[in-house]
């Protein structure tokens, strides 16, 4: 079902829960993988996904379709992930540890990882990027999103996003050259 139809259904009397369940069916997995690329751990990704969907439920009534439904959902998920990472980094700093190292360790020990060494190394390089730059790189590289859509999600200009992606790309290339 198209997003427009889902929203129309949501606005019918007594159909809110049903329509929202359809939205969850359509987008929850996609949002999960977006979040997972940001935070590395399944448990953290699960918590953030639940918060994202709850926020979407609370605010869907006020959604005026000024942006598309999927970019709106991505925006909530990205903001939730960035907030989570900010808190986690602060906590790690207070306990004198390196959160980027923790993310790498999580990847190394991930029971749900079934890729080869190149894929592991590549994912490690992505996790080394600054959080917002990682969000830009993930949406562009893995999800093939247009810069205009990413701009809607992050509220950043297309030019700044292109520059950010270029920097991320260079960092990853350099990391791979050093480690392979």
């Amino acid at each position: 079902m198209e997003d427009k139809d889902l929203l129309e259904l949501y606005r019918e009397d007594g159909k809110q829960r049903y329509a929202f369940n359809l939205i969850v069916d359509k987008y929850s997995e996609r949002l999960y993988w977006h979040i997972r690329k940001m935070v590395a751990s399944h448990d953290d990704a699960n918590d953030i996904l639940q918060n994202t969907l709850l926020k979407a439920w609370k605010n869907l009534e006020g959604f005026r379709e000024e942006s598309r439904l999927y970019t709106w959902l991505y925006r909530i998920a990205t903001n939730e992930s960035l907030t989570f990472l900010k808190r986690a980094r602060l906590k790690a700093t207070l306990s004198l540890s390196d959160y980027s190292k923790q993310l790498e360790n999580q990847l190394e020990a991930d029971a749900y990882f079934n890729g080869d060494d190149t894929q592991r190394l590549f994912r490690k390089a992505v996790l080394k990027l600054p959080d917002k730059q990682r969000a830009v790189f993930s949406m562009r590289y893995f999800d093939d999103m247009k810069y205009e859509d990413i701009s809607e999600v992050l509220g950043t200009s297309v030019g700044a996003l292109k520059a950010s992606y270029h920097h991320a790309f260079q960092k990853i290339q350099n990391f791979l050259k050093e480690h392979v």
């Binding site: 997995e29 639940q50 709850l54 890729g115 590549f122 994912r123 392979v180």
Partner: protein, 151 residues
């Protein structure tokens, strides 16, 4: 060598883009169930808040009005005494008795105004002869001689 590390190279990119992670069995179904529970819980919380919200806002409004009024009276009570107290002291020591006296006098005049007094009006109607008759009949000789002596 360069092509091997070019992450934008189509072949390499396809391999890197492959999702190397798996999900726990029935994870997405679990998310939906857990989410439904949380939404249910939230709607109950929202119900309670909806009931309490108007009452709390009313109480808050009263509290603000009371605080503002209390603040205004408190401030004016604290700033006025230096000037007003002194004038009150002057009045209470010197002027107040006169004012009170004047007030009482005025009150007396208001209450016993001869023009409106029916007894005084009657008194004006009594003639000289009637008065002498009354004295002759009711006042004894001793009293009359005493009155003559006084004059």
């Amino acid at each position: 060598m360069k092509t091997r590390f070019d992450i934008e190279d189509p072949l390499f990119k396809n391999h890197l883009k492959e999702n190397p992670f798996t999900l726990p069995h029935n994870y997405i179904e679990g998310v939906k169930e857990s989410l439904s529970g949380k939404i249910e819980e939230q709607s109950k919380k929202v119900g309670l808040w909806t009931i309490l919200k108007p009452q709390l806002s009313l109480v808050t409004a009263f509290a603000i009005v009371f605080a503002v009024a209390y603040g205004i009276f408190g401030l004016s009570g604290g700033s006025l005494p230096t000037t007003k107290k002194s004038s009150l002291q002057v009045m209470s020591s010197g002027q107040m008795p006169y004012i009170e006296e004047g007030f009482l006098k005025t009150s007396f005049i208001d209450f016993f105004d001869s023009s409106t007094d029916s007894l005084s009006a009657k008194h004006n109607d009594i003639s000289q002869e009637e008065l002498l008759d009354y004295i002759n009949q009711n006042v004894d000789l001793v009293t009359l001689s005493y009155l003559e002596m006084r004059d």
